[in-house]
Symmetry: C2
DNA sequence: TACTAAACGGACTCACCGGTCCGGATAGTA
DNA sequence: TACTATCCGGACCGGTGAGTCCGTTTAGTA
């Protein structure tokens, strides 16, 4: 589609960009990540612009619409989740690996954009694509765990998505910060999928 | 506090109300219930007024603000959930009863206001009070189930709230209608709490 | 039927948000 | 330093939703 960092404004690949423009783009992305993490993707563009120390115009010069900005941030977020799962696939103890993958995700999931990423569907082909990849890898992990007898045979990766996304949103919205609580609920979800 | 049907506009108990006013109040409540169930509590007052066949003014004559209307509807919703739990407490098979209580709630939980009721906190003393009662009854049910060995000793009622609320929101927002899917996810949650 | 207090509804205000636009500032260049 | 294409910020626009207000309608009464 469009090289790295998709969902951004069209731009002739040849044309160089001014240094301040590059800097500002990064400030916008960082600010959007922070604001969406704290207040969810409902947060407004003005808030992001202010946090980034730029004007609204600068945000819209980099992203054609709020949806595109949201999609770009969520793609990054989902890619990190994907990496957690990929790491877990390396392990040779699939049961443990499954647990660790969720714990890894949970450790960074006080971020409200994570559950948003799970539920935000159909508005960005790019995001849908990344999520499909996550699903594929999660299914692979689940299958490995099934074979080793660590995972109930009748369950599907999609169901893990629903349960795990559910607690992430609930805890995130409650502003839960204690990692122990996150681990505890993650374990409950893992237990739901034991044989 | 304020007798039955709290969260409503202050009103001299003596003063009789015109028949059309009473009728309209009921129409507003019914419409709000339907709209919040279908679109979540983010839905607007205009939509509710239209569905009720009245003007916005009539809505505000019965409820001082949108938050009060939301609270009133959520209180009703949570009271029904409370009743499910109370019914389950009657049973002499606590393990099964726990499962049935959640299934009972799930059966009506495509209603988006249910998870909203679980997460909407601190904006209505009345709602907080009802939720505290639900928690108390749920804790009682959980304790019974622990004693009979149907429930893991280390888990708390609050955790049930989080997991169950999580799937209700996820499935509700996904527009899931199939009762089989609801039962399936509810069972996963129940399994998470087995000893 | 005539009267009036209660209730009605929708036009209106106010605040906010997504998105556009343009006069002014500045990075890069010679 | 002088020049200009690029980029900047925030004023502005259109739309939406919460909440108010008041001229009009109607339920209840005699």
């Amino acid at each position: 589609m469009k090289g790295p960092g998709v969902a951004e404004v069209e731009r002739d690949a040849e044309a160089p960009r001014r240094a301040d423009a590059v800097r500002n783009r990064e400030k916008v992305i960082a600010a959007a990540e922070a604001v969406f993490a704290e207040h969810g993707i409902e947060a407004g563009i003005p808030e992001i612009a202010e946090k980034a120390g730029v004007g609204k115009g600068t945000v819209y010069r980099n992203f054609e619409s709020k949806d595109e900005l949201v999609a770009a941030i969520l793609v990054r977020r989902m890619n990190r989740f994907d990496q957690d799962i990929l790491d877990a696939l390396e392990s040779d103890d699939p049961g443990l690996a499954f647990r660790e993958a969720l714990h890894g995700a949970a450790a960074r999931a006080s971020d409200l954009s994570f559950p948003a990423g799970i539920y935000w569907a159909g508005r960005s082909p790019e995001l849908d694509h990344v999520k499909a990849r996550v699903r594929k890898h999660l299914a692979k992990l689940v299958n490995k765990a099934k074979k080793s007898g660590d995972f109930r045979k009748d369950a599907k990766a999609e169901e893990v998505f629903i349960l795990f996304g559910g607690i992430c949103r609930a805890l995130g919205e409650a502003g839960e910060q204690d990692p122990k609580v996150w681990r505890r609920h993650t374990d409950l979800v893992v237990d739901a999928f034991r044989p």
